[in-house]
């Protein structure tokens, strides 16, 4: 009842154009904060009933599913407390409709004899009274969170038509007690596994297009050097360790080439190197700083940062090199370009009145929108479905990771790590899970 009233209050506040902070998730592990700002949001109201048997399982499946859906910005949770349902139940849909839910998820978790868990769920269209399908799958305890993310992906795709990104992985770097660690985590920041631990800084992690490797810059030999790193085996390969600094690795969409910034010939300049290593090919020649290359999804162009005009701006050139065309014109400091997977959007960081703020540009029309209220934003990266951006910023004096919708209306701070957390990169879609009906 309290939750129901809170929903009403939230809707009223939203109608008035006010910001609200909501605390979602029932377990401490799944707890995160979603910030909703502004009017005109269309969100699908969905009820996620507690999965039967989840209290005896290591993960609260329903809470993870609900948190995923809310973080996407496209769903609003309807209180489902007290509902005793599973995937076999034939729910009384009129009641759920009265609660304001358009959709309902019910399921169960049960332990199998071999120690795995059997996770089952079903999605209902409450308005039409339709069964939208369900699945069951057997997972190890360590894959329970992933099964919850897969359920959220199923629901997201069924109800929005877009692929969900909840079962994808992100990489980020933490610094704690002068130790730097590169992590691979679930897209909600949880379930982090350390890929690399170093006494020297690690920056600029970048996922290979197949999601198997990370390229990054490590200062372990007391200078910036580019490595690729197979996250499954831990095997690392030196890609660029030339005289001077080696940095800013970016994968070509086919995974065969890395664009990098090298200073071996003086100044920071762009080169391409085979992703297995080899001799770099110079892409452009300037007397200025050229850095932060990123390929367009079709592989034809590279966006990059250059101060050739006197201040850092984003430029675009053919991925084989040649002349460049300026892309950003507003302000005197525009860096860290990221392209959406459909090639429609450019996210980048702009200095605005001394603050560093995430901007989103619609490339076709050139219109630019600042979408954050924070002042030290860094390194945006698009989710593989292009619906969310992850970025680093500072909150209450600490480094933090946030996700935001492209319009900036729904933001969430990622938990999962204490201390300073930075340099996010959102990985590609994983290979699809084969689910049993």
């Amino acid at each position: 009842m309290t939750f129901h009233l809170f929903d009403r209050l939230r809707d009223t506040l939203r109608f008035l154009g006010l910001s609200v902070l909501l605390i979602s998730g029932v377990s401490a592990q799944a707890q995160f904060r979603v910030e909703v700002a502004g009017v005109g949001l269309t969100q699908l109201p969905i009820a996620v009933a507690s999965f039967r048997g989840q209290d005896a399982a290591p993960q609260k499946i329903a809470a993870i599913v609900q948190a995923d859906l809310e973080r996407s910005g496209q769903f609003r949770a309807v209180d489902a407390a007290g509902a005793a349902l599973d995937e076999l139940a034939r729910p009384e849909l009129t009641g759920w409709r009265q609660k304001g839910a358009d959709s309902l998820v019910a399921g169960s978790v049960s332990r199998l004899a071999d120690g795995r868990y059997d996770v089952r769920f079903r999605l209902w269209d409450v308005v039409r009274g339709q069964d939208l399908g369900g699945h069951s799958f057997a997972v190890t305890p360590s894959d329970l969170r992933l099964s919850a993310h897969r359920i959220a992906d199923f629901i997201y795709e069924k109800l929005t038509g877009d692929k969900g990104v909840f079962s994808t992985r992100i990489a980020y770097v933490t610094k704690a007690a002068s130790r730097y660690q590169l992590w691979v985590a679930d897209a909600d920041g949880e379930n982090a596994q350390s890929a690399l631990s170093s006494p020297e800084p690690i920056i600029s992690p970048a996922w290979s297009p197949d999601g198997g490797r990370l390229a990054y810059v490590s200062f372990e030999s007391r200078k910036p050097v580019v490595y690729t790193h197979d996250v499954g085996s831990g095997r690392r390969r030196l890609i660029a360790n030339f005289r001077g600094s080696n940095s800013a690795p970016a994968w070509s969409p086919d995974g065969r080439t890395l664009a990098v910034t090298l200073s071996r010939d003086g100044g920071s300049q762009l080169y391409a190197i085979d992703s297995g290593g080899g001799e770099p090919r110079r892409l452009a020649q300037s007397s200025s700083i050229d850095t932060e290359p990123v390929y367009t999804p079709d592989g034809k162009y590279i966006y990059f940062v250059s101060d050739r005009g006197g201040a850092p701006q984003i430029y675009k050139m053919s991925s084989s090199g040649g002349s460049a065309e300026r892309v950003t014109f507003t302000g005197s400091y525009n860096i860290s370009p990221a392209l959406s997977p459909d090639g429609r959007w450019l996210a980048y960081i702009s200095r605005v009145s001394g603050a560093f703020k995430l901007q989103v540009m619609e490339l076709a029309g050139g219109s630019v929108t600042g979408i954050t209220e924070t002042s030290a934003d860094e390194r945006p990266s698009f989710a593989p479905n292009g619906r969310l951006i992850i970025y680093a910023t500072q909150l209450q004096g600490r480094e933090a990771l946030m996700t935001t919708t492209l319009d900036g209306k729904v933001k969430a701070r990622l938990n999962g790590q204490n201390g300073d957390i930075r340099e996010p990169d959102w990985g590609p879609f994983q290979k699809q899970l084969i689910l049993k009906e």
Binding site: A138, R169, S221, R222, S268, I289, I335, R351, R379
Partner: protein, 175 residues
């Protein structure tokens, strides 16, 4: 030599699973572990792929240095070596020239404002400014490498101008 180490490193990476791989001066433990089982390989099972952790241990220690200061400070957004730092550069130029086998690395740094990669490029410009100044004093180019740490290794913490002024620097470091 560097190329040799690089090739050696790459060869070992290809050839040796689970072996300890020397990468420059830093011990790298290459813990090659179990391979990843990608999700979907088996019907009805889920696997997001394990992550094998690699631990790099401790940093290398610096070599012998001349006595006296070895840091050049810069103004905001500037790569110009101010006159008051010329004597530091001259002292180091003499020291480097006196030992033809000495290797020196100029490490450029920036304050905390702005992006990490762009700051890396800015720090590189500071390091190259000091390298060029040493070159003008007759130091052989092969003895000096200019690298950047960007904003990753501030000398002091803090966000006020006094702290940031101490972080906009190039350090002359002997290896």
């Amino acid at each position: 030599m560097k190329r040799f180490l690089l090739t050696l490193g790459a060869t070992l990476l290809i050839a040796g699973c689970g072996s300890t791989v020397p990468l420059d001066d830093v011990p790298v433990l290459d813990k090659a572990g179990t391979s990843v089982s990608q999700a979907g390989a088996e019907g009805g099972t889920v696997g997001n792929g394990g992550v094998t952790s690699v631990d790099l241990g401790k940093s290398a220690q610096p070599g012998a240095t001349p006595t006296g200061p070895s840091v050049v400070y810069f103004d905001y957004d500037s790569f110009v070596i101010k006159p008051e730092f010329q004597s530091i550069i001259e002292t180091h130029a003499r020291f480097i020239k006196a030992g033809k086998t000495r290797k020196v690395v100029i490490e450029g740094h920036t304050d905390e404002r702005g992006g990490r990669e762009y700051n890396l490029a800015l720090g590189q410009k500071r390091a190259e400014a000091v390298r060029n100044a040493l070159g003008l004093l007759g130091v052989a180019d092969g003895q000096v490498e200019a690298v950047s740490f960007g904003k990753e290794k501030p000398a002091v913490t803090g966000s006020d101008e006094a702290a940031m002024a101490k972080n906009r620097r190039a350090e002359i470091s002997y290896r």
